[in-house]
Symmetry: C2
Subunit: 519 residues, 2 copies
């Protein structure tokens, strides 16, 4: 009987691989394996809304998940839907990992630094970790499935500033000038015949037509400035007051605005982007609710991972737990430090990626001067200062208070800020932001909170970088005995929640196939 | 005593012009003109929130406003704040003019066409008139002042399509390819020395650095495609499946995507843009509430405007009204048809601008397939078809139903759709949209409603075009006797609500100055 079941299961996995989950499930029914009338206890978890990812076939194994960050929560959520009995062990005091939203009343501690009491007003929040979601990312599918309402995160704003080489200019102006001169130069080269070997006569005409449009060129293909640069006073009853004429080609090239104005060209940052209404951690709250709060044990610092022939044993200070399988969803550099019997190759692979420092500061103001005076509604000011960016809030428009992200720094800049006291971080961020926004940047400030992810206990980094996506990366995609690994760090979506979710989906799919195959 | 008051008033206007409204108001207090303890009735209207535009000094004149569109409502609102007694006469059955939002239960009639009963589901709306607001526009100030909540209108979406010359491609792909080849061509011209007379060595290096970034060029400054084009399968655990390689330079130029990918370059259309939460007519509702519903008389078709020595008389079928001043806030071609004694020059000026046809269709679907399958969350697909654009909704993400704007056509295309029955408009719009989205564009359709603005009674046009902003335009900025003119058509913001609001502000400022100066 056991042998027969094994064969059937093997067959099912084959059908699943070839025909997809639907085919596998249909075959299970035909083979009499699908429960026809499940008892109340056996009923599959029904997600809040239909998801497009579902494990088919019921799993009955017990799974312990290390880390209740987004990868761990997603794994528990998907396994729970398929009938698994999951327990999450989380070293920190709350679930979510880097998906952390700070609000008034929160207390933020860090390694080697003073604690911060967050004093933001009612309704004000600071997404200290991830803050935006691209529409192609699986994160949006989870928002849909879990009923997390979303709204636009404005990642590109023509009215935001570019601050490079000590000069501040609106993004629209920097872009109009670069595009204008690029168009003029290419039109000139085309017209003097420099590209005649490359371009047919038709090509040339089409190219010139595009360049006139692209650069808003004058009749002789010269860039003479353009409405697109913006106005001192925008058109109304009169035609408006344009800005001063653009600087020379030489000065525009020397201004160095190129990085800033191409920042949203990539597939990860292209407009539009999205955010959950009310804070990024609404995703954590909804995942937690769906998984079952009682399955998440916080404050549990694992001291040992033991792979056994018939299961896995997890030990911590004052307790231990045995399960059929383990999913280790911790940052690799944290996981590497936990004693285990998974072999030296696992440890070597886990220590291959390097943690990267990342930090942010939330600056809460009592007046949304960026909307009232600068007409900046959401978006990002790009700088070559150590603050790198200033993010303006994409929600709560026209309300009394608002929170800017005063720096979002990585690597060296993040370490610089991270090494300061919270007070000194704020002081430095304000000094830098003042270069762009003037004295008002220091006025009306109500409170602030800053995070240095490399100083967050049990996380110790914003994300990791692999020297190459080679053997170590591939090696950890496979389980070590009964221990699977999951996290954004095992994907090509590092530093995105979507990576954690994709990794979790991959792991639970493979774990589930194994369970279905097991005797 | 009257003479003394006149002198004081003249002085006040002088102070106001020189020192602003605050100085004028302070001077009024000093001169004993500002009421120290106004009676309940005399109290100035207090706007819901502080606005940045306020008439100072109390006006007591009676003003009749023709047309309760955005210009008329704004004029009444601002005059009401300053103490004027305003009456609005509106020929249509409701206020708002072109600011029209259609919802289930509405009935839309048009000239020479069948009525449409709007059957949209709960919460679904169609902004049949204006749909988006640029952040620099005064419309946002009124949203703030009136307490109209706003949200992002996504005007640029890398995931939306460009459909030109019978080919459909994602906007991100069209843009990456054009930018890539433009960068390659200019790099080539630069490297062969074609621009050596224009560029210094430093310029050349900076330009090449920018071009590598701008076009995502390969090491030899060649465009070889790029991640920015998008993926068949986006990166996850694996690196993703890129799209096929880009077409040749020749084919990319011939594709003709230039207009589509530069559509958001202007100051009016640049990202981000905004919309009121719940429909554009929330602005109308809040203005109506602030003005006082009882001041708006709908269904009143004015038959005569008579300028008198001491006032103005407005006549309609079955009634007449006398006031101190009139603000005619109707479309010029409608106003020109109403008999008046304002002189032939006024009629000539009013008939100078030409009304432009404009039309839209709202297509309500029972499934948001554009989000679920195309991963298009808001934004606009640009086409060279007669539908011109498809707008995807920038709200209600992930909900069950949703409404697309299936065409937003102007001039000839609008006339083409306008001449069809509502059923045929829908049929044509679906046939066109299917070229982009396939058969699903016709499936799941629940209902539709279409508008041809040139067929809307008492409006008869989407907006107007001036042959030139010359003497007629300037002439109508001034009153004809006691009759003032207001509307977007008297500004450089034609077809924008901001134009109507700016015009209204201008008119009430001049009218108020005159009242303060009058004996």
């Amino acid at each position: 009987m056991e042998g027969a079941a094994l064969t059937r299961r093997g067959l099912l996995v084959g059908i699943g691989a070839a025909g997809g989950a639907g085919a596998m499930y249909a075959a299970m029914g035909a083979l009499g394996l699908a429960p026809s009338e499940p008892s109340e206890q056996e009923k599959e978890f029904v997600p809040p809304r239909t998801g497009d990812f579902t494990l088919r076939g019921k799993g009955t194994a017990k799974v312990v998940i290390l880390g209740a960050g987004v990868a761990g929560l997603t794994a528990a959520y998907e396994l729970g839907k398929a009938g698994y009995d999951c327990t999450l062990l989380e070293a920190r005091q709350k679930a979510g990992g880097r998906n952390l939203t700070l609000r008034g009343g929160d207390r933020l501690t860090e390694l080697n630094g003073p604690a911060q009491d967050v004093r933001f007003g009612e309704g004000v929040y600071f997404n200290a970790g991830p803050g935006r979601i691209a529409p192609w990312m699986v994160t949006l599918d989870y928002c849909r499935e879990l009923g997390v309402p979303i709204e636009t995160f404005i990642n590109t704003n023509a009215a935001a500033y570019v601050h490079v080489n000590d000069r501040t200019v609106r993004a629209r102006t920097a872009r109009a000038d670069m595009y204008g001169y690029v168009a003029e130069l290419l039109a000139k080269a085309t017209n003097v015949g420099a590209l005649d070997k490359t371009l047919t006569k038709d090509d040339r005409e089409r190219l010139l037509e595009f360049l006139r449009r692209f650069g808003d060129l004058g009749p002789k293909h010269a860039y003479e400035g353009s409405d697109r640069r913006g106005f001192t006073k925008y058109p109304a009853i009169d035609i408006g007051t344009p800005l001063d004429a653009p600087a020379s080609l030489h000065r525009v090239l020397a201004a160095g605005t190129g990085r800033a104005i191409t920042n949203d060209f990539g597939y990860e940052q292209a407009t539009p982007m999205f955010q959950p209404v009310g804070g990024m951690d609404v995703i954590v709250a909804k995942l937690t609710e769906a998984v079952g709060k009682e399955r998440i044990r916080t404050g549990v610092k694992v001291t040992k991972i033991t792979n056994l022939a018939d299961g896995v044993e997890i030990t911590w200070d004052g307790g231990a737990l045995k399960a059929d399988y383990c999913i280790a969803a911790l940052p690799p550099h944290i996981l590497a430090k936990i004693p285990h019997n998974l072999g030296a190759e696992v440890t070597a692979a886990l220590t291959t990626p390097t943690p990267i420092a990342a930090g942010k500061i939330g600056l809460e103001y009592g007046r949304r001067w960026w909307e009232l005076e600068d007409r900046i509604y959401g978006g990002v000011t790009e700088t070559d200062l150590d603050i790198t960016h200033i993010w303006y809030p994409s929600h709560g428009y026209h309300s009394e208070r608002g929170l800017l992200v005063g720096y979002y720094a990585t690597e060296g800049d993040a370490e610089l800020y991270g090494a300061l006291t919270p007070q000194d971080r704020r002081h430095r961020a304000l000094t830098q932001g003042k270069k762009i926004h003037g004295e008002k940047y220091r006025q009306n400030l109500l409170s602030s909170a800053s995070i240095a992810w490399e100083r967050q206990e049990h996380i110790q980094g914003g994300w990791v970088r692999w020297p190459a996506f080679d053997s170590s990366f591939t090696f950890l995609q496979r389980p070590a005995g009964r221990v699977y690994f999951a996290g954004d760090w095992l994907t090509h979506l590092i530093a995105w929640q979507a990576g954690a979710m994709e990794s979790a989906r991959g792991v639970v799919t493979r774990l589930h196939q194994r369970v279905l195959q097991s005797p």
